[in-house]
């Protein structure tokens, strides 16, 4: 019998240890490394010139479309995994259900391609 909680305790502890490792190493190297900040050193790198404009971010609409498509297929994947474990015992019915599901999402991808949403940039 598996020990459900013990497994997750291990994972949790590993997460904490990994985080502590990063923070700890950074603290440790603080003892060793020099620290002489100067204004020039702390300037944002922009090919050796003072940055033009700052403090804001902008991106292309295309990225949003990619992310949206990703969300949709990610949801699909979440349903795919429980299905993968049981479809053999459930037989044709479950298979057809998934075919329809995947088919509809494939339509989404097709639509995106057809609307040239993946054309860049």
């Amino acid at each position: 019998m598996r020990d459900y909680y013990a497994q997750y305790v291990t994972i949790g502890i590993f997460a904490i240890v990994a985080a502590v490792l990063v923070v700890g190493t950074l603290q440790l190297s603080r003892l060793l490394r020099p620290s002489h900040p100067t204004a020039e050193k702390l300037t944002t790198y922009e090919s050796g010139i003072d940055p033009i404009g700052a403090g804001w971010a902008q991106t292309s609409v295309r990225y949003y479309v990619y992310a949206l498509l990703f969300v949709i297929f990610d949801v699909e994947a979440v349903f795919l995994f429980p299905w993968a474990t049981v479809f053999e015992s459930l037989g044709t019915q479950a298979f057809v259900e998934m075919v329809i599901f995947v088919g509809i999402l494939a339509l989404a991808l097709l639509y995106a391609i057809k609307k040239r949403l993946l054309e860049w940039l």
Binding site: D3, W56, Y64, V71, V78, V86, A94, I104, A108
Partner: protein, 177 residues
């Protein structure tokens, strides 16, 4: 140590983190920070799901919410201007909103405590449902909602695209180039 005590300590710890993060989501004056605090709340929720014996939902939460929805949010934020530093994102109804939220919380928690005080959760790790159980139930009893999810996602994509796409008349003509 008693397992129940450990669970309670865990619950309080995670719960506190979630609440603090949630409060920061609604009060911080930096949009990207708000999205990142939301990640805190979401990860906390995933931890609670694990506690509630729903490991599949917990990892689905991580996969979809943290891995996808928040990324989508961040892209959206950067598309609509996401400065480093502060700006004012609150409106003038802040006090009123606080009152409404507090009253709502009072009423809800009073009702809930009243109705469910004394009900204990039996959290037996060895009974945690497995992925197969979830799959078996979805694909036998919840087929329609499942299929509708796919239609919903398709509709969401089409809707989003209709709204945000570049208005390109020639897009429909010929794609085969």
């Amino acid at each position: 140590m008693n397992a129940d005590v450990v669970r309670e300590v865990f619950f309080w710890g995670v719960g506190a983190i979630m609440v603090i993060a949630a409060l920061r989501v609604v009060t911080t004056q930096n949009v990207v920070h708000a999205a990142l605090y939301l990640v805190g709340t979401l990860m906390g929720a995933a931890a609670l799901y694990v506690l509630l014996l729903a490991e599949f939902v917990a990892w689905a939460q991580v996969l979809i919410y943290v891995g996808a929805v928040v990324v989508l949010m961040l892209f959206g934020l950067m598309l609509t201007r996401a400065p480093i530093g502060k700006a004012n994102y609150d409106n003038s109804q802040r006090p009123l909103a606080a009152v409404v939220a507090a009253v709502l919380f009072g009423v809800m928690s009073w009702i809930l405590i009243d109705a469910f005080s004394g009900t204990e959760l039996e959290l037996a790790g060895e009974n945690a449902p497995r992925t197969q159980d979830i799959g078996a139930v979805i694909f036998s009893s919840y087929v329609w909602p499942f299929e509708i999810v796919s239609v919903l996602l398709l509709a969401a994509l089409i809707g989003a695209v209709m709204i945000a796409r570049r208005d390109e008349p020639e897009a429909d003509k010929e794609v085969g180039s």
